[in-house]
């Protein structure tokens, strides 16, 4: 725990400072977002921490995130295939005959077809006179000869607002329809929202001059599990590839993953042809993995409970240490952890009290003839207006619902004259009583839970299994580990697989959260954020050191810093990198100094029985 003291303290300081400098910072919406982003970066930082613990480095994380983030929407992209659409080979205007690329299925005499994509003058809606093999004869033929275009069977549709009756449509929910206008041109495309027999509920109302429509079958490239399997499998394979090159061929991690950084981004830009890959709104359920809120917690209660537990816990902790070390010899160093916890508890309690929304009574200077505007406290939902005559009690005149708002709202109170008109009485004083205020709630973002699960597993793996011990030993001294019979190659490979796998998971979550990914810059610099978080969290680039808790705190610190720069007015956003760089440097310097002081103290204890007596 001691290793995370410095970084934890730094997070606390930055957090409190930002809260003091910006009103928006502690807003639930901002905090939810902050938690979500911290969680996403936390996941990839844990990954790189494993590699750093072996004494390696992984620079390819951002590009793996790009590969996965673009690859997932790419694999999940959906094509819409027109029902009964056939390419036209040739049009003979004289006979009104169309030669098709293949026999039109289900097309019969009397059906209507739309001709599009060929010569302009031919575009239109026609009736089918006869069908033989691949040639179709139209009743009133097209105007000029042509060698191209496409024929689409038009379904007859009767429109009534967004509901359309289309006999024999064969469509399902999430398919689409394209409207065909009377002049044969294609109109808008609408999504099918509901299907009841022949009746389709559409997302848009058809245009006025509707001649019919044709259906578009939804055809996804792959299913969700297959797509996830491919992208995650690819990232694990990349990790294995890196690990093999580094462990077996003894290539330098920096070089291997630097090439990876270039390689995977280039590959992604290649197969996507540099086009933005988006999920649009095809996969609402899948997106919940990254965007869902698993619970809404009342902030006041949450803060008071957590703050109280920390307060009591810190006190108990301090007392335990004091008793164990002995009251006379206890030093500030021993009590640092409880002291920081205590400070955090107190801050949380203070914050919790600050979020309590008291019900207030607002006195009003009533005017005879003019309306009065009253500022309501935030999140007021219901108020009552009360009046009283001289010498008597308050009487409620009306209760009003107010729309909840995060900003201060104005309520207009009528003039005394108006009130007397509505309700006779000798009213001379008015007041507004806030009857109800919405509770401040904060959502628990799903990625935070994923992070907690990942961090827990990683922590158990690192500290409670032999493999974690092997990783730490190897990072400290690979040669000694090998001499002790540890399969160091396998451990190196494992670390790179974990790192790339978590980068892949991060990529999935990032793209599901943001909804689209541009191959050019998706995940750019993320490896540096992850490495910085790991280093801030106490991982030494020399290897053999690091805690998962520290890394998670490090990732959170990076996000809070970024949030601070965005929110605090006088900090220009364009110096973001400078501020982040400076804070990381400061953090690492402080950490190094703390470590040295600790080592010196330890040395004193080891060598110096004599030192104690000398004092």
């Amino acid at each position: 725990m001691k290793q995370v003291l410095g970084i934890g303290g730094l997070l606390l300081v930055v957090f409190v400072a930002t809260a003091l400098m910006s009103d928006a910072f502690l807003k639930p919406f901002n905090l939810e977002n902050l938690m979500k982003r911290s969680a996403l970066f936390g996941i990839i930082s844990i990954g790189v921490a494993f590699v750093i613990i072996t004494g390696g480095i992984d620079l390819s994380i951002g590009s793996i995130i790009c590969l996965v983030g673009c690859g997932l929407p790419f694999l999940l992209q959906v094509e819409y295939v027109a029902v009964g659409q056939v390419p036209v080979v040739s049009v003979t205007a004289e006979t009104g005959t169309l030669e098709l690329a293949r026999p039109p299925r289900g097309l019969s005499v009397g059906d209507r077809i739309g001709l599009a994509g060929g010569k302009k003058e031919n575009v239109g809606v026609y009736l089918v006179a006869s069908v033989t093999g691949t040639s179709v004869v139209l009743e009133a033929g097209p105007e000029s000869d042509d060698s191209g275009g496409r024929l689409t069977r038009i379904l007859r549709a009767e429109s009534g607002s967004t509901f359309v009756t289309v006999p024999g449509h064969g469509l399902q929910v999430r398919d689409r329809v394209t409207f065909v206008l009377e002049d044969g041109h294609e109109g808008a495309t609408a999504r099918v929202l509901s299907v009841e027999g022949d009746r389709l509920g559409l997302s848009e109302a058809p245009p006025g001059e509707l001649s019919g429509l044709y259906g578009l079958y939804r055809r996804p490239w792959t299913s969700v599990p297959v797509a996830l399997g491919i992208v995650l499998g690819a990232s694990l394979a990349i990790g294995l590839f890196h690990g093999l090159l580094i462990a077996k061929l003894k290539l330098q991690p920096f070089v291997v993953t630097l090439c990876g950084l270039l390689l995977y981004r280039g590959i992604t830009r290649g197969f996507t042809q540099d086009q933005t890959q988006g999920l649009i709104d095809e996969y609402p359920t899948l997106k919940l993995i990254a965007t869902a809120q698993l619970a809404r917690i009342p902030m006041t209660w949450g803060l008071l409970v957590v703050g109280g537990v920390m307060l009591v816990g810190a006190l108990a902790w301090g007392v335990t240490i004091r008793r164990r070390v002995g009251a006379a010899r206890v030093s500030w160093g021993d009590l640092a952890m409880p002291a920081v916890t205590l400070a955090m508890g107190v801050s949380l309690l203070g914050w919790g009290v600050g979020t309590i929304s008291p019900l207030e009574t607002l006195a009003i200077e009533a005017r005879e003839r003019e309306e009065v505007r009253v500022d309501l406290p935030r999140r007021t939902t219901r108020v009552s207006m009360q009046a009283r005559a001289p010498g008597s009690d308050w009487v409620t005149l009306a209760e009003t619902q107010v729309e909840e708002s995060e900003t201060i709202q104005e309520l207009t109170v009528p003039s005394l004259e108006t009130i007397r008109g509505a309700r006779p009485g000798d009213w001379s004083q008015l007041q507004v009583v806030v009857l109800e205020r919405a509770r401040l709630e904060i959502g628990l973002p799903a990625p935070l839970v994923i992070l907690l699960v990942v961090a827990l597993i990683a922590s158990v793996f690192l500290n409670r299994t032999i493999y974690g011990r092997y990783l730490l030993a190897m990072g400290n001294n690979e040669e000694a580990a090998r001499y002790s019979g540890i399969d160091t190659d396998r451990m190196i490979i494992l670390a790179y697989v974990i790192c790339a796998g978590l980068a892949g998971l991060g990529g999935v979550l990032f793209v599901l959260d943001i909804n689209s990914a541009q191959p050019v810059d998706f995940g750019n610099f993320y490896e540096l954020y992850a490495i910085a978080a790991a280093v801030l969290g106490g991982c030494s680039l020399r290897g053999g050191e690091g805690t998962i808790v520290g890394v998670v705190i490090g990732a959170a610190l990076m996000r809070v810093l970024k949030n601070m720069i965005t929110l605090v007015d006088w900090m220009p956003t364009y110096i973001e990198y400078a501020i982040i760089g400076a804070v990381i440097l400061a953090g690492v310097i402080v950490d190094e100094l703390v470590k040295r002081a600790a080592a010196r103290r330890r040395l004193t204890r080891i060598r110096g029985g004599g030192d104690e007596s000398g004092r």
């Binding site: 011990r469 002790s484 019979g485 080891i606 060598r607 004599g610 030192d611």
Partner: protein, 521 residues
């Protein structure tokens, strides 16, 4: 410089008075005195941690003193850096050589003080560097071209380069810290010769060593340190092994007594036609028996370490047959060797034996973790703590506790931790490479006792040692290597006899086999 008027005798070349040095939590030097006359070899001895190295670092300007006075030729000087020390004519030849081994001899000798020429003196005067180097190499009797790259030299010759470097700055006091620790016997011999010549040329030498035999042979006077204080001084005629040990440990160590009634059991390791990658031209045949301590003697570079590493699977054998117990096995990696019941206490304790940044507990349990872990690889932390505690007790490791980081232990205790991690595996064959290098006298005896105890329990021990005394005393049988092959085998009777040392040396230098070949011819 002529303070002689005030003193009955000329001032000492070097006079160290009441020098103290405090490290956090420990008083490393407590008012230590030391004097040195011109043309004198002064032995400085003491157990590890007695303050020898600290004193020398202070004299060489590597570390500042906290108190005391250093006089050179009777005049107090301030040594505030290596430059100042060299200016006063004091040069330290480090225990670990400080040469840039990618550069040639001349470049190393003049590193940082290259003679320059040309406008602005920006060009290195290579010609002068080479000719000057030749002169200094001659002084140390090293017959190599000064443009030879240092990495091509043996350790012994590299040491000569270090000495030449010290001479090139006109050093009058040469401090040698454990100069023979990585030298072979013959290399050590030529070093002794050079030391004699330097003394005759009026240079003064401070000679620090654990090897009391060498000190006895070389020193004109011996200063003994114990726990950071002067423990005593011996004049030429007083110098003896016992006297030195008595002053070093502050008590008499009972003379080591050999258990002669050890009876080796069955063969537990048998090598036939083993070919190691380091010496592919030679095939090795030998066997180890249960409860037998076999010394592996030879000069540095004779292939002893390489043989152990091949047996342990670090540099797998090219071919040949190896049988451990009843299992035929040619280990391809240490894991295979370990599971067959072998263990290796490697030569380089800090690099190969220990994970310095980890706790005693974590180091001891490292090889046995897999065996002791639960299903799914989960650590059994209770068991780990318990078996580590037992090992600390059994080996009498001096540590604050199992959570103590190994880095902060003394060399002897570190070596015990290395032993502890292997004893936890209960090996049948224990390979030890220089098991007592850099360890003080007390810990040495403990390790010897432990080797005896293990042998008595049936463990076969094969140990490499460059200390002749160690080989002669500890071995039931000694294999002597020469240039990658086993030149001969000596039994207890020869080793224990008066001719033991000579017999080993003849085999090690190849003299014996050359004679045998002549006899054959």
């Amino acid at each position: 410089m002529t303070d002689a008027t005030r003193e009955p005798r000329p001032p000492r070349l070097l006079d160290v008075r009441a020098v103290s040095k405090r490290f956090p939590g420990v008083l490393a030097l407590d008012r230590v005195d030391l004097v040195l006359d011109p043309g004198e070899v002064l032995g400085v001895i003491g157990e590890n941690g007695a303050g020898k190295s600290t004193l020398m670092k202070i004299l060489a300007g590597v570390q500042p003193a906290d108190g005391g006075l250093v006089l050179v030729d009777g005049a107090p000087i301030e040594i505030d850096g290596v430059e100042a020390a060299l200016g006063a004519g004091i040069a330290l030849i480090h225990q670990e050589l400080n040469l840039a081994d990618n550069l040639d001899i001349a470049a190393n000798i003049f590193l940082g003080r290259e003679p320059c020429r040309g406008p602005g003196r920006v060009l290195i005067d290579r010609g002068r560097m080479l000719s000057d180097s030749r002169q200094f190499l001659e002084m140390v009797g090293l017959d190599r071209d000064p443009s030879t790259v240092v990495s091509e030299l043996t350790i012994g010759r590299q040491q000569m380069v270090e000495i030449a470097k010290a001479l090139s700055v006109d050093a009058r006091v040469l401090i040698m810290d454990e100069p023979t620790s990585s030298l072979s016997q013959s290399e050590a011999e030529s070093l002794f010769e050079v030391i004699g010549q330097l003394r005759d040329a009026g240079k003064s030498i401070v000679y620090i060593s654990h090897r009391l035999g060498e000190v006895t042979r070389l020193a004109d006077r011996v200063t003994v340190l114990r726990d950071g204080r002067n423990a005593g001084e011996l004049d030429r005629q007083e110098i003896s092994h016992d006297a030195m040990v008595r002053l070093m440990v502050g008590r008499d160590i009972e003379e080591w007594d050999r258990e002669s009634d050890r009876e080796p059991g069955e063969v537990v390791l048998e090598a036939r036609g083993l070919r190691s990658p380091a010496f592919p031209a030679h095939r090795l045949d030998f066997a180890l028996r249960q409860g037998e301590i076999v010394g592996l003697a030879g000069l540095v570079g004779a292939g002893r370490t390489e043989l152990l590493q091949t047996l342990f699977g670090i540099t797998p054998a090219l071919d040949g047959h190896l049988r451990i117990g009843d299992i035929p096995l040619l280990p391809q990696d240490p894991r295979a060797a370990i599971s067959a019941g072998m263990a290796l206490v490697p030569e380089d304790r800090k690099q190969q034996g220990l994970v310095l940044g980890m706790a005693v507990r974590e180091n001891i349990s490292l090889p046995s973790l897999k065996r002791d872990s639960g299903p799914g690889g989960f650590l059994d932390r209770g068991r780990e703590r318990e078996s580590c505690g037992r090992m600390i007790e059994r080996l009498r490791v001096k540590t604050l506790g199992p959570e103590q980081v190994v880095q902060y232990l003394s060399g002897g205790n570190q070596q015990k931790v290395v032993l502890g991690k292997w004893l936890a595996m209960e090996p049948r064959v224990l390979l030890m490479d220089e098991p007592t290098r850099g360890i003080d006298v007390g810990a040495k005896q403990e390790i010897y006792a432990l080797m005896e105890e293990l042998a008595a329990r049936g463990v076969a021990i094969l140990f490499v040692s460059s200390e002749m005394e160690e080989v002669l005393r500890m071995s039931d049988r000694a294999l002597v290597m020469h240039e990658g092959r086993i030149a001969g085998e000596l039994d207890r009777d020869v080793l224990g006899g008066s001719e033991g040392e000579e017999a080993v040396m003849q085999l090690a230098t190849g003299a014996a086999s050359a004679r045998a070949m002549e006899a054959d011819g």
